[in-house]
């Protein structure tokens, strides 16, 4: 599955997670096949992102997990002596790994 | 030194014009593009605007006019439009060209100077505006109320009053008090401009009292938005400690310590109905009764009197 912007949604995509409104109501359930009307409703409700089955939206120059983790390493390379920031780094890396596993 | 913005693409003001006008104590700021003309109006407004009708692209003259006449603080900047003879003879839509005077080119520097003096004098004569808020004062207000009650359409005559304004002045000083008055004036004007531009009026009675008039169907949305906007902006005018406490203790007029609430607004509304009233005095009598009730309520409120429905 892939998390995408509602702007990127297209007809025929299948929801991998339910879409919730800001008030916490379920707008469309998991497994819903997106139609033009549904996509428009999602956008009109101001819902920024949705999760769909597969990996339908190609991301230009998308980096591999290894590259992404190396980038994070590099960004934090000058604050290795600062424990709270090392914790932040660990969290960010864990999230990156988790998001890849889910897809 | 008066600063005059001259906006035009053709060279309408020659060197000769420039010398004559500058000798008379005018500083001319010549601008050929809309972008810099509007920047100047926004950031460092001139004392007068002289503009060519054929300035910039099609919509540019209106954008420039709107920058002046669409802002409360700038409505008293006179605008003179330069047109050619053909345009003067065929006539222009003066509702759209909301200018104060026009002059037909070509013209001599002396003629332009005379028109400029007239435009300045007329501004002072026509406006009975409040010097702080620049809103129309009492003469205009009474005329506007009379117009509303004479109209076939029903209007709401709405009196705004700032609650706890006197203790606010005592606590923070009248300079801050003036800022609050200006804040309320701007909120009211901006809301009415957006929600009820057609046939509306805003005036400043004096002190912390304002009057606005809108068509009956706009009364509710306008009052609600004014009160909501006031709630947002008010916090910028009260120090964090007092805001947290939600009130403060000050001496009242008899010198006793009294707890005062923070600033709020009360709006008393009288619906004119169709030809129900004949004189503006009747409206203000009912308004003061309504005001008495609405001021008793806690916080910001509005109240509508519908006796005219009878």
């Amino acid at each position: 599955m892939q998390q995408i912007l509602s702007l990127q949604a297209a007809e025929g995509m299948v929801l991998a997670k339910e879409v919730m409104t800001a008030e916490g109501r379920v707008l469309c359930g998991k497994g819903t096949v997106l139609t033009g009307t549904i996509i428009e409703r999602i956008r009109k409700m101001g819902i920024g992102n949705i999760t769909v089955e597969g990996h339908p939206v190609p991301v230009e120059g998308e980096k591999s997990l290894e590259e992404e983790l190396r980038d994070v390493e590099e960004r934090f390379s000058r604050v290795k002596h600062v424990p709270p920031l090392m914790y932040v780094k660990k969290k960010i890396m864990q999230r990156k790994v988790a998001s890849r596993k889910a897809s | 030194m008066k600063r005059i913005l001259v906006a035009g693409e053709k060279i309408i003001i020659t060197q000769e014009h420039k010398i004559v006008l500058e000798a008379r104590g005018y500083q001319l700021l010549l601008m050929k593009d809309l972008h810099s003309a509007i920047s100047l109006i926004l950031e460092d407004p001139p004392d007068m605007l002289i503009m060519e009708k054929a300035f910039g692209e099609e919509k540019a003259p209106f954008a420039l006019l709107n920058a002046v006449k669409g802002c409360l603080q700038k409505t008293n900047i006179p605008v003179i439009l330069i047109i050619d003879e053909k345009q003067a003879l065929s006539g222009l839509d003066w509702q759209r060209y909301a200018v104060d005077d026009f002059i037909v080119s070509p013209f001599t520097p002396e003629l332009l100077r005379a028109r400029m003096q007239l435009a300045e004098a007329r501004m002072i004569r026509v406006f009975d505006n409040n010097p702080l808020s620049r809103l129309p004062g009492n003469t205009s207000i009474l005329q506007a109320i009379q117009r509303a009650i004479d109209s076939d359409e029903s209007h709401g005559v709405c009196y705004i009053d700032i609650d706890n304004f006197k203790p606010y002045n005592d606590r923070y000083g009248f300079s801050q008090g003036d800022d609050v008055i200006l804040m309320v004036a701007r909120i009211a004007v901006n809301v009415i401009d957006e929600l009820a531009r057609e046939g509306s009026f805003v005036g400043h009675v004096g002190g912390d009292d304002f009057v606005f008039i809108v068509r009956e169907d706009k009364v509710k949305p306008v009052c609600e938005r004014i009160l909501a906007n006031f709630e947002v902006v008010r916090n910028m005018f009260i120090p964090a400690e007092d805001l947290k406490a939600g009130c403060y203790v000050e001496k009242d007029r008899q010198g006793r310590e009294t707890v005062f609430g923070l600033l709020s607004l009360s709006i008393a509304v009288v619906i004119t109905g169709s030809h129900h009233f004949s004189h503006y005095g009747e409206v203000s009598t009912i308004a003061s009764e309504v005001k008495h009730f609405v001021k008793k309520k806690e916080g910001s409120n509005y109240m509508i009197d519908r006796r005219s429905r009878g």
């Binding site: 998390q3 912007l5 509602s6 702007l7 990127q8 920024g48 992102n49 980038d71 994070v72 590099e74 960004r75 934090f76 390379s77 000058r78 604050v79 600062v82 709270p84 920031l85 914790y87 932040v88 780094k89 969290k91 960010i92 999230r95 | 809309l34 972008h35 810099s36 509007i38 920047s39 109006i41 926004l42 950031e43 460092d44 407004p45 954008a63 709107n66 920058a67 669409g70 802002c71 409360l72 603080q73 800022d179 200006l182 804040m183 701007r186 909120i187 004007v189 901006n190 401009d193 957006e194 906007n229 947002v232 902006v233 916090n235 910028m236 005018f237 964090a240 805001l243 947290k244």
Partner: protein, 290 residues
Amino acid sequence: MEDIKKTQFRRALREVKNLPTLPGIIAKLTRMAEDPDTTTEQMGKVISKDHILAAKLLKLVNSAFYGFPQRISSLNSAIILLGFNVIKSLIISSSIFELMESQDVELWEHSLGCAVVCSVLAKRLDVSDPEEVSTAGLIHDIGKVAIKMELKPEFEMLKQMVHDRQISMLEAEKEMLGIDHAEAGGWLAKSWNLPAKLVEPIACHHNPQDAKDEQLSTAIVHFSDILIRGLGYGHGDDVWVPSLSKTAWQLLNLTQQDLNEIIDEVEEKLWDVKGFSLEIQAELENSMTS
């Protein structure tokens, strides 16, 4: 010698007149301003997503002419007080970047991202006015734009220094200009009559221990700048997370659990930033083809 140079730079930065905005944002706002159904609130929402327009709006409402010097720190209030017509004029008078470089977009995303983190932190820490802190976060790097626009040759050299010597922009600025973008941003904010509540967090966002009156909001902006860079919203060749001030960290007093929740919440909200960024790019393409 050093002092003379510093004075020169200071003067040049004070001269800054019209900071340019991203063309996509101006295209979107121009289209909105022409639509009679657009509300002031809708325009305000878009302006609140741009660090340059937000700074200009605050400069206007706090200028002597409009009557509220050093008082208005909230964008919502600024919009309510200035009204639709003034905002429309502001958009017409805005200049845009002539040459749009990816760095300008990155700095915009960094600023908006920083505002998002500030808002999450401010709400969590029960700050009395979270919007104010988020506004400070939005415009915290305004000094960078001023340096780029007013000290063009120096800025090119700064970029080169960062690239060649692998030092941070902050270090390069201090070495070459004797001042840094935080200090420059602070002067600008002050000369524009912005309230002290905004000036200090901007001026001290790299040295929060120097803050005197607004310690908490300065600490929030400081840490938000760090966190958003950690999440990949930096700009240019300077990708590194800056160092964390001990004073600020102690003041924030965040636990590991807090950090977990903050990062989750921020990541969720950053989708809006990405979405808006795409929308702005699409807007630019539309405006060029139409």
